[in-house]
């Protein structure tokens, strides 16, 4: 069993455009229930739910405050290598783009980590491009070893790994895994992933589950919204999250709803995800998965982020650069353009102003330090 089997079954549901068949009654029923089923989720993502956005927002807000209070966890991504063997139509790191690639040495990782830790952040997300040759597991492990000296929680966003490799990383203190499926629609997936191991849809789809099995404390998944019909993508993402939550109750499953951003190439997205659509997606996620983490990245503009933090968001990135070595002025090529360029203190102030509490530390690495 894997989510793949579930996905095949779900594909026969009225997804995307077809969700026009849901009406006000379906939305109202979904809003009145405490535990939502897949039909309710589809109704909340459907055009019929648009007039109910305020009602959805009120409920999402209530649920979030009850479960998470006013706490919003801060983290930042740290790019350590931008070598990539894949050709993804929508990304600057794609192998087809010619630029000077970089990979930090351990001294540089240490320097970059100190710079980030000095801002008060304690949660870090380590990122690499996807290249087993240039950033192999041993490299990720070495980086994690350095990072754990500076941070109380280290997560990774790297190419899909085997169960054994994930276990190895978990044992040396990596406690979170982020793995974006990018696109759940299999045809679009095949079209946008032109070359490289990432073409293997299934290997990627099953990676979060391997992460749960390996014992990571938190696993974050998501679709890159805009690559395909957003209703359908949001539905599959939420179903994937619930699948994992049902089977791995000990793992905290979170969803990130990133929207497509400008990058080095010229691809423009197929499905325009408006602000309104993004709000609908976030609210549907919250109502369908009341206890899941919801992560908001700096892909969104500052003014919008200031609003979205009231709708169910529980984790937010701050002080972001998407370049390798960007925190110490390394100046590599950004993976994509960010939109909210505010510093950690600025995000902290924004949260306080919004009546929310920025939480810098929400975990302690308990694994023994590697020898």
């Amino acid at each position: 069993m894997s989510f793949y089997d579930t996905l095949l079954k779900l594909e026969s549901m009225p997804l995307g455009e077809q969700s026009g068949q849901y009406g006000r009654n379906d939305v109202e029923r979904a809003l009145s229930r405490e535990k939502l089923d897949p039909e309710d989720l589809l109704a909340l993502l459907s055009p019929a739910a648009v007039p109910y956005l305020e009602e959805m927002a009120q409920k999402a807000h209530r649920i979030t405050r009850a479960h998470f209070g006013y706490a919003v966890q801060l983290f930042t991504p740290m790019y350590v290598a931008d070598y990539c063997v894949n050709q993804c139509t929508y990304c600057s790191f794609s192998v087809e783009h010619d630029f000077a690639r970089k990979k930090l040495t351990m001294e540089e990782v240490d320097r970059e980590a100190s710079a980030i830790a000095a801002t008060g952040l304690r949660h870090i997300l380590l990122l690499t491009g996807e290249s087993r040759k240039d950033s192999p597991v041993s490299y990720v492990k070495e980086c994690a070893g350095v990072l754990r000296r500076h941070f109380s929680s280290v997560s990774i966003e790297v190419n899909p790994l085997s169960l054994e490799e994930y276990r190895e990383l978990a044992a040396c203190g990596v406690d979170g895994l982020t793995m974006f499926q990018e696109v759940y629609d299999r045809e679009t997936y095949a079209r946008l992933h032109v070359k490289g191991p990432k073409r293997n849809f299934r290997a990627r789809l099953d990676a979060p589950e391997r992460g749960c099995q390996a014992g990571f404390r938190s696993v974050t998944i998501g679709a890159l919204l805009g690559l395909s019909d957003w209703r359908r993508e949001a539905f599959m993402t939420a179903m994937h999250a619930r699948y994992l939550q049902d089977r791995y109750p000990g793992t905290e499953i979170s969803i990130a709803p990133p929207r497509f951003r400008p990058y080095l190439g010229s691809f423009s997205p197929e499905s325009d995800v408006t602000d309104r659509a993004l709000v609908q997606i976030i609210l549907a996620y919250r109502l369908f998965l009341p206890r899941s983490g919801l992560t908001l990245s700096t892909r969104e503009p500052a003014a919008l982020r200031d609003r979205l933090v009231h709708l169910g968001i529980t984790k937010i990135s701050a002080g972001v650069t998407t370049e390798v070595g960007g925190h110490t002025g390394g100046g590599g090529t950004p993976q994509f353009e960010i939109s909210d360029e505010r510093s950690v203190p600025e995000i902290r102030e924004m949260l306080y102003r919004s009546g929310l509490q920025p939480v810098f530390k929400d975990w302690d690495i308990l694994a023994e330090a590697p020898v």
């Binding site: 006013y70 404390r217 000990g250 509490q357 530390k361």
Partner: protein
């Protein structure tokens, strides 16, 4: 009433309301809530404490007279809970610990089995252990036998504000467990806290109900009053509620004549 102290872990407490630190909009509210609630015990998640950060460190906002009850939230196994508890003690947070072992991220229900294991290890190491648990009598008895100082059954799932859904079971623990019962989690209204106290709970612990109230300070005060009146009613001896009717003058008195 003035001398109804709660003796636990070598301390005598005059307030039976324990509070949390988890969900406030800002840590600077904590001293005010402490004041308004009259509470003397405050639970804090070790995972949230960052001694390196002066500004954001919760501990700097906790008045010195409070008894710290570090909790092991985030622990999924007994082993993790034990490690967190030891970290807390090493960080100078005293020897009280609230064991929270949760392996269910959907409802955050505690794992009693792992909780017993962690309690046994930590009690043997001299900790004053207060385990958070699902109200199950055999688990409570085991916790007592391995050295828990009290048990903390949930009234309803954490953050649900649903009240004393587990009333029957908590009642059994109060009667049978042979150690103080502190109702933890689920209490959303002062009346529910009063109800737990009337039943004979030794104390109640709350966080969400105060932290997410529109006016947390007023709510803290409301709970302070409710816990005190519930306790008073318990001490006064509530008229027993029996399934069979009880006549006010004996009907079988003649038998002993």
């Amino acid at each position: 009433m003035s001398q109804d102290l709660f003796h636990i872990g070598g301390k005598s407490l005059s307030s039976r309301l324990f509070i949390g630190t988890g969900k406030y909009s800002r840590n600077t509210l904590i001293p005010e809530v402490v004041e308004a609630s009259g509470s003397e015990v405050i639970t804090v998640a070790l995972r949230r404490i960052d001694p390196a950060s002066r500004e954001e460190n919760i501990l700097t906002h906790i008045p010195p007279h409070m008894t710290l009850l570090p909790n092991t939230s985030g622990a999924r196994t007994a082993e993790e809970a034990v490690r967190i508890a030891r970290l807390a003690r090493a960080a100078g947070m005293g020897n009280w610990v609230k064991i929270e072992v949760i392996n269910d991220q959907k409802y955050l229900l505690p794992d009693n089995l792992e909780t017993v294991k962690a309690t046994e290890i930590l009690a043997a190491e001299g900790f004053i252990v207060l385990p958070y648990m699902s109200p199950d009598l055999s688990a409570a008895l085991r916790l007592r036998d391995v050295g828990a100082a009290a048990v903390m059954p949930l009234g309803a799932p954490i953050g649900s504000n649903r009240g004393l859904k587990t009333k029957e079971l908590v009642g059994i623990l109060i009667e049978e467990a042979g150690l103080p019962v502190i109702v933890d989690a689920g209490i959303g209204r002062p009346s529910e806290a009063a109800e737990a106290m009337e039943m004979g709970a030794a104390a109640v612990l709350l966080n969400t109900a105060i932290a997410t109230a529109r006016d947390p300070l007023l709510m803290a005060e409301a709970f302070r009053g409710a816990v005190a009146s519930g306790r008073q009613a318990y001490l006064a001896g509530l008229g027993a509620v029996r399934n069979a009717a009880e006549a006010s003058s004996p009907l079988t008195g003649f038998l002993s004549v």
